[in-house]
Symmetry: C2
Subunit: 113 residues, 2 copies
């Protein structure tokens, strides 16, 4: 078993075009031996957003803290801690933080994508 | 996008041999259209434990609440909120709650296992 103390992993700024005030840490990835899917943690600062984009793999998300807006299905959806989100492949999506607190969530992707 | 309000999903008692005081809810599974991996939430009540067992697929876990003990690598490992755990395929494992609060975690498995 690998036990990753995720609070000790440094954040990396997401520099993809369209990302603003977004940080990521990969907590279970290939270096840890993840066979099939990768666990990341994201934090979107107040006023920030992920890119609005599309790709041919899914996201499975669990909201940990804060309140956010998930744009998907062509509309904005408020999300909050305890929500589990499935973004299917090829669905345009974006996460925004319109609150005053950090918006943090786990986001998993398949390893082969 | 599917947005599952996980707090509203009823718990199911885990009745597998060796499980004691363990509840599960599948939050992102085949009915929600999960293509590659399945997200479940477990809660182990104080004094409870999951079966000590082995299988040929991995677990990716994120601890949400409470303190638990993960038996793996042949020994007990204390785990706490914020810990991300990778149990590789074929590694014997068990989760126990020796605290006085519920021990809750997300546990993902591959869909084809």
């Amino acid at each position: 078993m690998k036990n990753i103390k995720t609070d000790r992993i440094p954040w990396k700024e997401v520099t993809d075009p369209g990302a603003d005030k977004v940080k990521i840490k990969v907590v279970l990835g290939e270096p840890e031996g993840a066979p099939n899917f990768i666990m990341r943690v994201f934090e979107v600062a107040p006023g920030g957003n992920t890119p609005r984009h599309t790709h041919n793999w899914e996201h499975e998300i669990f909201v940990l803290a804060g309140k956010g807006v998930a744009f998907a299905n062509g509309k904005d959806n408020p999300v909050e801690p305890g929500d589990a989100l499935l973004i299917p492949p090829n669905e345009e999506h974006q996460f925004r933080n319109e609150s005053k607190e950090p918006f943090r969530f786990i986001c998993l992707i398949p390893k082969i994508k």
